[in-house]
Subunit: 375 residues, 2 copies
């Protein structure tokens, strides 16, 4: 306890800037911001009296303290910076290590109280990128729920009739993006998964990868279905995309779909420990280039392959490692998406995405879902 | 443009630390972090090419720029601090004003690039606390959806049978906290509202104000129903709590309910411009004290009136002004909750909450919902 180490402590803000890191390190999350402190092998949670009951259930490995014990003046009791300074002083720490996500207001307050603050690099817990067996189980459960939801979405589109004007009709009413999103969300909710941002984007809406989609779905249009729910129990995410069409695709739509599918297959085949995210991304670019698809900007609007190939999935929907030009070597146990896409206004958007775990030999899908194109 | 003012600019992080402030100032939100800059009367959004289409729809009042235009080296293109430094330099600004929520990593990077950084006080936009007519409409719509959801929850509990062991049974299956939460969420989803944290907490679960509740609901137990959904269209929240009981309440339960109801009435009657949040909170404390209810800690667990009387509601579920010992004078147009509660293990929890807008004369409920206790 007299070692040099003991005069500095890692300080993270749970329920706020560092919510996910704190959940990872402690298993604890709460709606309002609170402090997590790690000094050497000792972990502490500074939580309000309201959270104490839940915090104590974590067991003896984490010491739980309420800020009341710090004897701060009443106007400073809810000030995380003052709490941190008072607690670290009590512990004999002179230096706080914080994540780059720590709010500047908290840092300035700590510095004013005489603490030195060192900013760590992101990610604070690099080990988060490699999942342990319990995390893989949670991710697999999430991805299975996602696949089930995807089949629901596909079933709705497949079961719709095509109206005289080309709009899809289900049970006498137009099948809209909103309606598919609602019905898919309900199925997920029943399994205790939340999906606020499901994408059901038809036609040119699907050429903007962040457009969620609105209005009636139509025959002959590419429909991008991107579902990424989070388990309210475990906090882990699933992530899957399929692209479908109702009715007869044009030659351009068919070629674009086949090319993205081939790119995804090629990328999945490359995934293995030691292979870099950059190499996998390049594999996708090569398939697209060979098929004659170019990425550029037309009237300021980007088109072609306009995002990266994939990202890590865990307690955050987007986390390390990156499968992009900046992506380093993969490791076994990492969980990543492989989601190439092509977007051309006038034709539509195609994206096909699966989430895989990197294995010693290559990779393995966390859940399967048919890649049906023409419904 | 050569004024002193033009050498400093407000810099906020949308989609991240300052997401809500940026949505308030610009009307724009996006899933990934981006920069918002205000210099004098000019507003700028620095958004990725993917978001450009949506950003341009905001109209000519906001200039939209992609970080590509900043000619950063490839490894710095996604670095918000580098983007900010490069953009402000291009604008001739030497000083960035940031919110206290700005991540320290971004601040350090800007400072390294030679910018001076001044940290503003929270809230950056104090005017957010006073709602304009469009905001009141959005909040009223949210609160109406909340009231409708509350009636659904009450109807489920009222419609349940009481099984031999006291468990509530609906349509042959136990009526659990999870089932009520699911059915209420589905109704909200249909109206495009998300409610991830609905509380349906019976018996001693209800004595922890942050416990969401699990397992079968039972006759003779106080059940706290706290519903706070967010509109996926407007981004505004509703917030309402009722406490109910199925079957016959004990004398202690009945007295506790009546006392909280009286406290809420007394607090609502005090709300008016110029009255402080502290005074309203004290009104609640006085009612509880007169009825003999004490707030203290038993075996480390707080009991009695263990939270503040209310908070502002808007684009955040908890925002200014505060209705607590720290609360200042209210203003017309502010939207606040009034939610006294009493929590005693062995008896249960009672909380009654409405959301009101402060008017010139007093206050007005944003939506009504019966206060039925015995169902």
């Amino acid at each position: 306890m007299k070692s040099k180490k003991s005069t500095s402590a890692l300080l993270l803000i749970g329920g706020g800037a560092d919510a996910v890191d704190v959940r990872y390190a402690s298993g604890f999350s709460a709606p309002d911001p609170f402090l997590f402190v790690r000094r050497g092998e000792e972990d502490f949670l500074l939580v309000s009296a309201l959270e104490m009951g839940r915090a104590l259930k974590l067991g003896p490995a984490i010491s739980c303290v309420t800020p009341d014990a710090l004897e701060l003046p009443p106007n400073a009791r809810r000030d995380l910076g003052r709490q941190a300074a008072a607690f670290l002083e009590k512990m004999g720490c002179k230096k706080a290590l914080v994540s780059p996500r720590c709010p500047i207001g908290v840092v300035r307050r700590m510095e004013k109280s005489g603490l030195r603050v060192k900013v760590l690099k992101d990610p604070v817990f690099a080990e988060r990128a490699v999942k342990d067996p319990a995390e893989i189980r949670a991710l697999r459960q999430a991805q299975r729920a996602t696949a089930h939801a995807m089949k629901t979405a596909m079933g709705l589109i497949a079961g719709a009739e095509i109206g005289g004007d080309g709009d899809l009709i289900l049970d006498g009413a137009p099948l809209t993006s909103e309606r598919v999103r609602y019905l898919v969300s309900v199925g997920l909710l029943e399994k205790q998964f939340h999906a606020e941002e499901i994408i059901v984007a038809g036609g040119d809406q699907g050429t903007d990868p962040h457009e969620r989609g609105t209005g009636p779905l139509r025959a002959g249009e590419l429909i991008v279905l991107d579902i990424f729910p989070r388990s309210e129990v475990t906090g882990y995410w699933g992530d899957m995309t399929r692209t479908v069409i109702r009715g007869r695709p044009s030659a351009a739509q068919r070629k674009q779909y086949r090319t993205v599918l081939a790119a995804q297959k090629a990328a999945l085949a490359r995934v293995a420990p030691g292979v870099t995210g950059a190499e996998i991304h390049q594999t996708v670019c090569d398939v697209f280039a060979e098929a004659g698809y170019e990425t550029d900007r037309v009237d300021g609007v980007p088109q072609g392959f306009i995002h990266s190939t994939g990202h890590g999935v865990g307690l955050e929907i987007h986390e390390g490692p990156s499968v992009s030009p900046a992506g380093g070597p993969l490791q076994a146990g990492q969980v990543i998406t492989i989601e190439p896409g092509l977007y051309y206004p006038g034709v539509g958007g195609v994206r096909i995405e699966d989430t895989v775990v990197v294995t010693e030999e290559g990779c393995s899908l966390l859940a399967t879902c048919p890649k049906r194109f023409v419904l």
